[in-house]
Symmetry: D4
Subunit: 255 residues, 8 copies
Amino acid sequence: MREILEAVAAGELTPAEAESELAGYATTGAGRFDAARKARSGVPEAVLGSGKTVEEIADLAATAVETTGRAIVTRIDAAGAGAVRRQLAENAPKATIRWDERSNWLVATAPAFERPDVDARVGVVTAGTSDAVPAGEAAMIAAELGADVTRIDDVGVASLARTIDAVSRLREQDVLVVAAGREGALPTVVAGLVDTPVIGLPVSTGYGHGGEGEAALSGMLQSCTALSVVNVDAGFTAGTQAGLIARRVAAARGG
Amino acid sequence: MREILEAVAAGELTPAEAESELAGYATTGAGRFDAARKARSGVPEAVLGSGKTVEEIADLAATAVETTGRAIVTRIDAAGAGAVRRQLAENAPKATIRWDERSNWLVATAPAFERPDVDARVGVVTAGTSDAVPAGEAAMIAAELGADVTRIDDVGVASLARTIDAVSRLREQDVLVVAAGREGALPTVVAGLVDTPVIGLPVSTGYGHGGEGEAALSGMLQSCTALSVVNVDAGFTAGTQAGLIARRVAAARGG
Amino acid sequence: MREILEAVAAGELTPAEAESELAGYATTGAGRFDAARKARSGVPEAVLGSGKTVEEIADLAATAVETTGRAIVTRIDAAGAGAVRRQLAENAPKATIRWDERSNWLVATAPAFERPDVDARVGVVTAGTSDAVPAGEAAMIAAELGADVTRIDDVGVASLARTIDAVSRLREQDVLVVAAGREGALPTVVAGLVDTPVIGLPVSTGYGHGGEGEAALSGMLQSCTALSVVNVDAGFTAGTQAGLIARRVAAARGG
Amino acid sequence: MREILEAVAAGELTPAEAESELAGYATTGAGRFDAARKARSGVPEAVLGSGKTVEEIADLAATAVETTGRAIVTRIDAAGAGAVRRQLAENAPKATIRWDERSNWLVATAPAFERPDVDARVGVVTAGTSDAVPAGEAAMIAAELGADVTRIDDVGVASLARTIDAVSRLREQDVLVVAAGREGALPTVVAGLVDTPVIGLPVSTGYGHGGEGEAALSGMLQSCTALSVVNVDAGFTAGTQAGLIARRVAAARGG
Amino acid sequence: MREILEAVAAGELTPAEAESELAGYATTGAGRFDAARKARSGVPEAVLGSGKTVEEIADLAATAVETTGRAIVTRIDAAGAGAVRRQLAENAPKATIRWDERSNWLVATAPAFERPDVDARVGVVTAGTSDAVPAGEAAMIAAELGADVTRIDDVGVASLARTIDAVSRLREQDVLVVAAGREGALPTVVAGLVDTPVIGLPVSTGYGHGGEGEAALSGMLQSCTALSVVNVDAGFTAGTQAGLIARRVAAARGG
Amino acid sequence: MREILEAVAAGELTPAEAESELAGYATTGAGRFDAARKARSGVPEAVLGSGKTVEEIADLAATAVETTGRAIVTRIDAAGAGAVRRQLAENAPKATIRWDERSNWLVATAPAFERPDVDARVGVVTAGTSDAVPAGEAAMIAAELGADVTRIDDVGVASLARTIDAVSRLREQDVLVVAAGREGALPTVVAGLVDTPVIGLPVSTGYGHGGEGEAALSGMLQSCTALSVVNVDAGFTAGTQAGLIARRVAAARGG
Amino acid sequence: MREILEAVAAGELTPAEAESELAGYATTGAGRFDAARKARSGVPEAVLGSGKTVEEIADLAATAVETTGRAIVTRIDAAGAGAVRRQLAENAPKATIRWDERSNWLVATAPAFERPDVDARVGVVTAGTSDAVPAGEAAMIAAELGADVTRIDDVGVASLARTIDAVSRLREQDVLVVAAGREGALPTVVAGLVDTPVIGLPVSTGYGHGGEGEAALSGMLQSCTALSVVNVDAGFTAGTQAGLIARRVAAARGG
Amino acid sequence: MREILEAVAAGELTPAEAESELAGYATTGAGRFDAARKARSGVPEAVLGSGKTVEEIADLAATAVETTGRAIVTRIDAAGAGAVRRQLAENAPKATIRWDERSNWLVATAPAFERPDVDARVGVVTAGTSDAVPAGEAAMIAAELGADVTRIDDVGVASLARTIDAVSRLREQDVLVVAAGREGALPTVVAGLVDTPVIGLPVSTGYGHGGEGEAALSGMLQSCTALSVVNVDAGFTAGTQAGLIARRVAAARGG
């Protein structure tokens, strides 16, 4: 830091340049810093729909579209999606809205918004329909980060043939998010078949002892393969991590 | 019960016959009842070596050989095995001693002892060497109950090919005990490949969150296949249950 | 595997035969594989009603009747049962429907469907009415697997006489599923009285510390008898395991 | 309190009498208060041997004999007992020492000490030898409180006949302490057979899930009978509670 | 048992006498055995209202009044109480009904029913209004068992003066049930002031870590005084245990 | 205590003076003692709205205003606030009512009530809007205790710049309450930047493993800085503790 | 930050002054920053003896004396203290060493070192000797921070009179650290008697359920009084927090 | 699969080629398959030293050097390292041995062994010396996988300046492993400053509630940034995952 300050004293740097130089860790206005960070990392913020009224969701979504060109909402049901539609009909009538009924997310974009496009592949793998919500969130946010996302569904450990038949598709990806509830063994089995980095995503299925995803989480943490893991149902986190890896890979590709 | 008592009053049953009739749930001497039960079920009692002095183990083993013709000791190390040898050299010099150094069990039998022989197959499956102690206990007690026991080792979920190559051997068994530590996925994978009853045996490997076999246990309890499970490291319980099933199967075979 | 491939190359096996030979662990279509497995193991899939809309349940049930001749639904209430009835009135008007109001399961069968019939006895034991749902599921699926199922109810450890009076019925079975909530001691007491394999089924009664079936589960796992155990309320798993054992026994009987 | 103070002001009570009147909740010297309480309740303090050096134990025991006529030490091994013997040989050469090797307690009494004698019966029940330490503590302290203590051992739920054969002895007691490890079902079974108050004493046997006495504790807390419970291995607490009940009963008997 | 059978054979006992002799552990009809037990122990069964429909509650209550002269229902709200009233207006119009709105219990008695009356005092102590339901259950069942019950309310550890002012009333009881939620310290403080047996009753107040009564339960189990404890909110169990102790004391009094 | 009693006997103290002297730990009427304590410590009691009917809340609030001049209610929604308004319109029409919709608390004061005013600063810090309820409670009760309260919001660890920009405001406070959910790292980061005492307030945000505030609580307890901590969501406790510290500081300032 | 940078550009601040101005959150050398912070907050770092070899402890202590004039070591036994003595005999022969054998801490100071002296009182309260280590750490570090520390020992909730007799000493303190193991009720009882801020310090005594200090911790977190809490055995944290509060109070006193 | 089989039948594929084609999921010999996988993924197996005798470790290491050219051992102390040295002096006298005393790992390589070299950067970040073992394992295995590894140490959240000073080095990496014990906040703080993928590595420091790394693990799982996480102390897993990501990045770079 002393060097920068001395450069300022010597007139070699303007105060603004010095501030920019230090921008990673200091700024005058918190909001401005966040904007910088967003531009830099491309990780958009999302609105978590659960626990909010439909009015609150609609307001936040409209603001996001107006300020950043895109609103991402997770855990939003039909009523919430309707409220967002009505609000945007007023605030941003030309916005495009996609709502995924099964995975409960909504993405609204202003006409001018251009989603990043990175040259790297993210695979999102599930064992069954009960993994739909977190897997859908992971796929959505990875795609919004620009990755080329492939869904590989119904790959269950209790029916090994399905897993084996998916091997070539699994190997084509640059990074895999593998969702699993109950005993959560699928990420271990997949990581034993590929040399792609695998992010385990435990899902809150199951009941009784180890239910609510706890068995899946602890099983993935105990896996003898090289898994990394996110929290139960944290599809957004898994997809973001996968997206960040995809961006590194794409950057290396010169894309 | 009234009927039995009336038959006694009528002289149709002697008191001894009546007692025998009621033997399932009543007896004058606890020891005698236990003898009856052992004769009936063939489940021998075992000496748990851990937590006992070598003298205590040796005494108990000698008594068991003298009274029932056989001593079964689990969790016994070289020192314990040596003490048993010395004690039996005095008390029962003609006894045969088998000690499994890896699985830490010892079985001593009097020359006249005839192990039951039942016509049914028990498979004991492991993923690796860390499952040796509980899997070895399971195999030993199932064999002592008379079953035809096969060990199927090094079948790991992180190397599916090994599992697949073992399928035909797995399918030949009448009942399977499948041991697994860490994430404990092997019993689920096996039960998806066979229609044999599978008993999951969680092993206390692993560390950190879900360590000490807790992840394996909860994963097996959450399995979407039809597993039944025993406690962590409870190889003796798993092997006994498998042995009881084998005896039912063998009885049905007329064996 | 090399042998099979060489036989294909030599023209000794057609590709179709080879595929069939490998069917345990490989197939082109996941669905087909599952059909093969069902034919082999006789374990039918069930629809879990809880967490689904009545329309979803009705659709899945109708499809199951049409494709496999039988639909099994668990955790289904009166509204769900009504929806299934209406749907089948359209899709499969000749189907037979059994709905167990107390245990919340429904089985619908096409006229041509023939339930397997295996010559072996499964006993399902309960301590009281609060065990009805999981015990009922266990009894239903064991029966659907073809076993001869006997219910032995109201056998509580706090009233030993009831347990003792049930001993002879308990001993007649080839395998027992014993359900218990609260402290879960019944399977231990039963397993001390018989030499039949006992599967403990913890029930989610109880409150406070150890409630929701956790005390029952841990007690059964700690039992000094040779119990195997399933997860809390996992009646379907316990009944399937019992059914698989019954099939092994029956196969040995030549049935 | 105002009444007492007014009586003091009026000279109707001396300050000493007033203090004595308030003695339940106030005193100038903590030690004196404790003496009063001990005299009143007869619950002697005990020295917990574990975690102390043999010198510390010996010192504390000698002090206890000198000041109260009796020293009670729990969790004391042979080395500790030897140290106490040597110390008392100096300080109180006429003291009588009883050391229970199996239950690890020691009681030393001065010649003049008279143990209270109350006319009521406490039964201490165990399932096996692994319950020896806490059950032995319970029996010892109940006896030191003056109760007439009976040991009823080897009463296991896995061998119901033993339990049933003990029924009449169980019914003769005024209060029962029932120790059990593993699944901890014995207190429930006993309480279903008698109308005596039963105090459940969980023992830290068992391993894996629910081990260290946790399954036994939660099972006793979930019991459908009217048990009260103490903590794992808290034999001293259970025996004291039983002794207090015995004293109430004896007081009612006019003893 | 052999002696009894020989006496039957010798004609010294009729079968009926023998059955009566063995009645503690054997009977032909489970129902009959229970009747015997109820007569012997005086512990009436109660209907747990929660989880039942109002119709079910009303049916069970009516049956209980008709067969035993008394119905005890816990966890019953105004709707349930109304349903019982209507049902009894039909089935047992002369029955007396008491409903405690605050503690949610109901007791209905036939005109001929005579509650037992035992000469012993049970004190039920609370810290505040949030303890009302379990404390009320404890007081009710102890009274139904015949004890002379005193409520001692609003005795909180955060206001020691209240505790101290209650000391003399606390000391007058033969046995105390002390309810406490949150940190659950009251039973420890009370047991330090009296030499009466104290049964700790943890209450499911509190939130966050240790909430739902878990902190209170573990605190009571750790108490350095001689408490015994029941499960969280298990007022019925605590009151029954207190009632059984009271009956022993009263029996000793010749009452 | 003897000294006081002797002074009474000597006529140097009236009984009333003596009682007052002992008032910290003894009194005839519990209510009176509490009044003394409130006057002394200035910690007012609050009504916890959750779990009470709106009528109960309104009654308690009206009583508090009438007897102490102020009612404090936490966890109260719009319906509850309306009920209080209507009740006070009758009982205390001149009372002033403040209701914080976001933090769900209500304070009503009689015209004559004078809030204490102490010369010390309490800072209440949050990371985001999800901390509003407990942080709002902390700020409210600290203010009602008389402290000068500053809110410092939106200081998140994932955006260090915001934290750094807040440093000077953080350093101006005499004591800080720092609320944080999820991983709960904010109090640690803040305590590393200031030498003010910091009270960590974990918030029940988060889901899956460590959710409901458990991760935040355990993280704060593990902090390598000198935090003290309150339970999850215990804003009232944190604010009261901060207020007591502020009062000590102010007292030292001569205020 | 912009303002500072502009002042540098304008020559109003030298780079060194600017760096100093920003010193709270930026510096070129990590070590230097820490020195600044130590000077500012006066919280000295301590060496945690457990888990280190005696050589490592001695080295670290010698370095601390040489660089800051004082070494503070916790959890150090006789062997460690001897090693420190020998090391300092070489490196700093004039240093003064205090070792507290019972609480296992050691403080060594260079002759020139002057401990701060702040005009505020910290009370450290214990229930018994088992609280010695963490309470001793709390007292030591509070004293090293300059506070006037008073130990108030043997204040147990099971002997209320002792607590009451300590009231006046408790009230004289500016802040209290109250240590308690087992059920951990003492801080609640104390906080109900005083209006001083109380920091609860749970101690890892106790066994079985809630042992290792968990019951004490959860009880303190559930306390209905305004406690703040530190982790189990975290005496150093509690004492530091108390010392920081004392410093604020003393600063307000003008000391 | 059918296509492959038909190609074999048509003579288009030799059986060996077909087997090779299917090699991902089928092979005749388990060992051969593993070899294939190792060649493919480059993830070498490691010997876990803890729980093995020094002879076992030395044997396994020698075998690994002979068969794969490299032995990797973790959790190995000086005694173990000495044994490996002696064994290799016999078996492979030209092998090179590196032993990291602080992180307890050993790598031995045959002269001909060429470590892969991939063009991507892995940063391994720690807060302090207590993170040495797992962080050292992570760095070692990432380097053995060929990555360019940088250690960034002493970056603690309680001293933000250190973190900020490390920002530019953090941003230069392609992937970061961030180790942290106690409250585990460092990965969250780091992930808020960079757009690099961050893998959180919880370390088993800490004591009391949330000790043994549990607080760190749950805090990382709750992080509001996009962390993925491995189990407590699972440095080998974290480093392998980082290495796999680095390999993907390098492959994209054409390296």
